[in-house]
Each structure stands twice: as C-alpha cells, then as structure tokens.
C-alpha cells in the first residue's frame, strides 16, 4: 500500500519534472533577447535582461507603477507612455485605452514586453516612489486621540515629495492581528525636512493600523514606509486659497503651510479647522502663529459643540456657512480639503454653489 502510494507520487512527479525541464530548456534557448536598454524620460538609462513584461522589469528596478490586478491586463492601472520599442498595440490593451490614449502611445506596462531597447515616459512622481526603512524617532500626544509620529529615514535616507502627498505605512502583526497591514497617511512635515517623515494619526476605534500606532508602536522601532503618493498638493498659481480639514486631516495642510513659510507667498489664505469640542483642537499656537508669518492668513477653528465660555466659540456648528465670509473672488479661488467623505461632499457642494470652479477644488478623502 505504502509502496503503491510512493510509486504513484514518483510517477506523477517524474511527469511534472520532465515537463518542467522542457520548459527550462525552452526558456533558455528561446527566451533570449539579450540585454535591453530602458530609457526613462530621456533622463535615466537602465540596462535590463529582455523577455519580461515592462511592469515587472520596472519593479525589479524598484520603480513601482501602480497595478491592482497583478499584471493580468484587467485593471488598467499600469498605464505609461511608451515612445519607442513597445511593438504594436495589443488587442489585450485596447479595451482599457481611450482613443486619445492610443494616439498618445499610452500602453499597459503589464502587456508590453521588453524585447529590444525601449523608450518610456512616466510621471516624475512615480520615479520618487520608494520603499523606505525608517526608525521611530518620537511619538507625541497632540490630543487625547491624536498622536504625531516622527519617522527618521534610514534606507534610503532622503525622500522627495510635494507638500500634501501621503505615504503608506506598513504595520507589523500584533495581538490578534496576524498579518501586516498597509494604510495611507498624509505627511505632515515639510518637504524641506527630507530626512524625516511626520505623520499625524488619530485613533480609530477598532482600526487595525491606528490601534497599532497608538498602543503598540515604540520609539526606536523599525517601520516600512512606501511613497510618496497622491495628487493633493499646492497648485502654483496666485489664486486665493481656502483650506478645509478636520481631525488628522490637518496633517497635509500643516505640511503645505510650513512649505509655503519656507518659499514665501502673498496669497490670501484661510484655514477652516473642523473639530467637535475644544478638546479636539491641537497645534493651535502653530497655526495662529502663521497669521503673523503670512501677510494674509487666517486660522478659523469651527467647533461643532461649544459651551459659551469657550475661547473658539465665535463660529460653531458646520463649516459651510462661514465659507462665504472669506470668499473674495470665487472664480479665482482654490480649495484644498482633507477629511471625512461626508464633510468633503458638503463643503464641495457649498463651494460649487458659491461659484468656485470644480476643477479648483482639490481634496484628499479618508473614505
């Protein structure tokens, strides 16, 4: 009986090994495209072994294009411009590319194979996306449920990001949670401090990552960060700016304002900070201080619950009714918002009603 089982397993294994060997030899003798040069943005040339998909080739070089389906050509996230050497457009790509994109030589990186020298264009920001090993330098309580955590970057030692972008934080297993989890948090430190990343993290009841940060993370621990990601950053215009952000949504706004403090600006700016009670206010001195730093800046906390004796009770309830007070020229105003989907949608509606163009409303949703 046992002998029977073993010989059966042996026979099927022999068949599999035979097939695998054929494939290995075929790979070796057929899949030979030699070394190919990938030219990125006419700036950087990398020499790679041909035969792999462009997506995997770039991944091996630590350039991470987005990909949700894992290279099966069904999500369309890995779009990039292939100027030369990509071969003809494949039928597997067509359904996911608009006619305009097809004209512009946009391709799906997971379907394009690197078989010869190839020229591609990817957004510079993707170029910057890296996996960082960092060490927790400090953890500070900002309120009863919000902490600021500073990560000192170790490898690579510097990050290049735009104020307002976010990174992904990788948790380690703890307690009942057996897997690592990845969550996105906006960077609250300014881009000029490029050797550290500060995140402002609010404890979400039952939240896997926030619980880890609040209750388990220790100073000195090593943590992996990936980034920077996102298109929530200051547009370089002269338009008036309205910032709206509540809770830990203050993080990207802090980064933006501190960055503006370094580069200087004359733009009219107003920041509405939505919070529930006075207990939820934090970094108030820093933001009040900005009123003296910039020629035209106003920090307006709006509390939804306010006892009359409070210091910040001039405005209470929702933020929406107060927006028009500061609006000077709706057509020439940009809004930067960060917070819960409900608040964002309500404010967006109000801004639209007041005449702020939709394409000047930028937001980062926690949803």
């Amino acid at each position: 009986m046992l002998l029977q089982i073993i010989s059966d397993i042996g026979a099927s294994a022999a068949i599999s090994i035979f097939l695998a060997l054929i494939l290995v030899f075929a790979q070796k003798y057929l899949n030979t495209y030699g070394d190919c040069v990938v030219d990125i943005n006419n700036k950087k040339q990398i020499t790679v072994k041909g035969g792999n998909s462009l997506l995997n080739t770039l991944n091996d070089q630590q350039i991470y294009l987005a990909s949700a389906c894992g290279g099966r050509g069904s999500c369309g996230a890995c779009k990039c411009k292939v100027a030369e050497g990509g071969g003809p457009l494949l039928p597997t790509e067509k359904p996911l590319l608009s006619p305009k994109e097809q004209q512009d030589n946009i391709r799906l990186a997971c379907q394009v194979k690197v078989k010869s020298d190839i020229k591609i264009h990817i957004p510079e920001s993707i170029f910057n996306i890296r996996k960082f090993v960092s060490v927790v330098e400090s953890i500070t309580d900002l309120t009863y449920d919000i902490k600021a955590v500073v990560f000192r970057l170790k490898e690579p030692a510097k990050i290049d990001f735009k104020a307002g972008q976010y990174v992904q934080l990788e948790t380690k297993p703890y307690g009942k949670i057996k897997q690592t989890t990845v969550r996105a948090y906006s960077i609250s430190s300014k881009p000029e401090d490029d050797t550290l990343v500060e995140l402002i993290i609010r404890l979400v009841p039952e939240g896997i990552c926030t619980t880890w940060v609040h209750n388990f993370l220790q100073v000195g621990e090593e943590v992996n960060l990936t980034g920077p990601f996102g298109d929530f950053y200051i547009r370089d215009t002269q338009a008036d700016m309205i910032f709206i952000a509540g809770g830990s949504g203050k993080a990207p706004i802090k980064s933006m304002l501190q960055h503006l403090q370094v580069v200087g600006t004359n733009r009219k700016m107003t920041y509405f900070f939505g919070a529930r009670t006075e207990k939820d206010l934090y970094l108030t001195e820093l933001f009040k201080g900005f009123e003296h730093v910039f020629p035209d800046f106003q920090y307006i906390p709006v509390l939804s619950k306010c006892d009359d004796a409070g210091l910040y009770c001039a405005r209470s309830g929702y933020i929406m009714p107060y927006i028009k007070e500061v609006l000077r020229d709706p057509q020439n105003t940009e809004a930067y918002m960060c917070g819960s989907p409900g608040m964002l949608e309500a404010c967006r509606k109000e801004l639209r009603n007041l005449g702020v163009p939709d394409n000047k409303i930028y937001f980062d949703s926690f949803g």
Binding site: I15, N31, L90, K94, P95
Partner: protein, 195 residues
C-alpha cells in the same frame, strides 16, 4: 463509442457547445467579449490550445497514466500538461513568428486556466473517445467556444450605447444574453444525439 469523428466535430460546435450547454470557460468569455477583434484572437487561441492539449492529454492518459495505474491523478496531471504546453507554445510562437504572437500569442496566458480546456480533456476520457474522435471533438469544441464568444461580442458592441438598467451593466446583461443564446442552441439538440 462508434460515432464518426465528423459528426462529433459538428456536434461539439452546435448541439453540445462546451460554453453554451456546459457553461465552461465563462471567465475569459465574459471579460474579453467587449470587442470583436480580441474575441476573435482569443477564440483562435482556444481552438489551437484545445486541439493540442487534448491530443497531448489523450496520449499521456492512455500511454502513461493507464499503464502506470495512476488514472486517479488525471486531474493534476492534465492541469500540469496544459499549463506546460501552453507556456511552451507561447515561447515558440513569440520567438519565431512575432506577427502571430501579436494576434494569438498574447492570449495564451489568459486561457491556461480556462476551464473549457480542462473540461474537454475530462469529457474525452469519460466518453471514451479514441484519438481521432478526441481531435475532432476538441477542435469542434474550440470552434464552438469561438462562435459563442464572437456572437456575444457582436451583441455587446451593439448594446454598448443602449440604455441598460444600472444594476445589469457589464457581466449582468452579458449573462442574460448568454442564457438566451444557450436557449437558442438547445434548438439544435435534436439534430444529432451526441452526449
């Protein structure tokens, strides 16, 4: 089983269409049928792969698995044979005929895990077809599958701009269309009686 391979071939296309009567190979059928051109490429690839893998699996079954008394491992062995031969085919096509690769080769990885391919391999064993019958049945099934996906692609390009209830857009309406097509194919079943 003494059915002429010729009859089996036609039966596999119409009366016992592997997709419309057995509903095998649905995933790629639903996801690729958005366009005529890619449906055609995928269809050709299925015909090609079905014929080759079924022939290989038939040989493996009767000359290896039966003599070695490991017929009960056929599921695993068939999957391995299919995966390996598709991979090999892709490599060969890509290397030697780039033009064919761009029309057919790129679909090969998509159908390695297509259940129609595996299903037909199992049917040929259950129904005890001989080698010639197997080839005819496999090619016929491939063509039948291609016919079905081409028809669905044709219909889908037409209903693309039509008002479809929101909940049914995409796979929903495609499944309903497939069901109606399957009903129509039941009409053929009286012509030849082949299981």
């Amino acid at each position: 089983m003494h059915i002429s391979p010729f009859i089996l071939f036609w039966a596999a296309i119409f009366t016992s269409n592997v997709l419309l009567t057995n509903f095998l190979g649905m995933c790629s059928y639903l996801s690729v049928s958005r366009e005529m051109e890619s449906s055609f490429g995928l269809g050709i690839a299925v015909v090609f792969v079905l014929t080759i893998t079924c022939a290989l699996n038939w040989l493996v079954y009767y000359y290896l698995l039966v003599p070695l008394h490991i017929v009960y491992l056929q599921y695993i062995i068939f999957i391995i044979v299919i995966a390996a031969s598709v991979q090999l085919l892709e490599l060969i096509i890509e290397r030697f005929t780039p033009t064919l690769y761009y029309t057919l080769g790129i679909f090969l990885p998509l159908i390695t895990v297509n259940c129609a391919i595996f299903g037909v391999a199992l049917f040929m064993i259950i129904r005890q077809y001989n080698f010639l019958q197997t080839i005819a049945y496999a090619t016929g099934s491939g063509i039948g599958w291609m016919l079905a996906i081409l028809m669905l692609a044709g219909i889908r390009t037409r209903i693309k701009d039509k008002m479809i209830p929101a909940g049914l857009v995409g796979p929903g309406i495609s499944l309903i269309v497939t069901g109606i097509m399957a009903l129509a194919f039941v009409g053929f079943s009286g012509i030849v009686n082949v299981q």
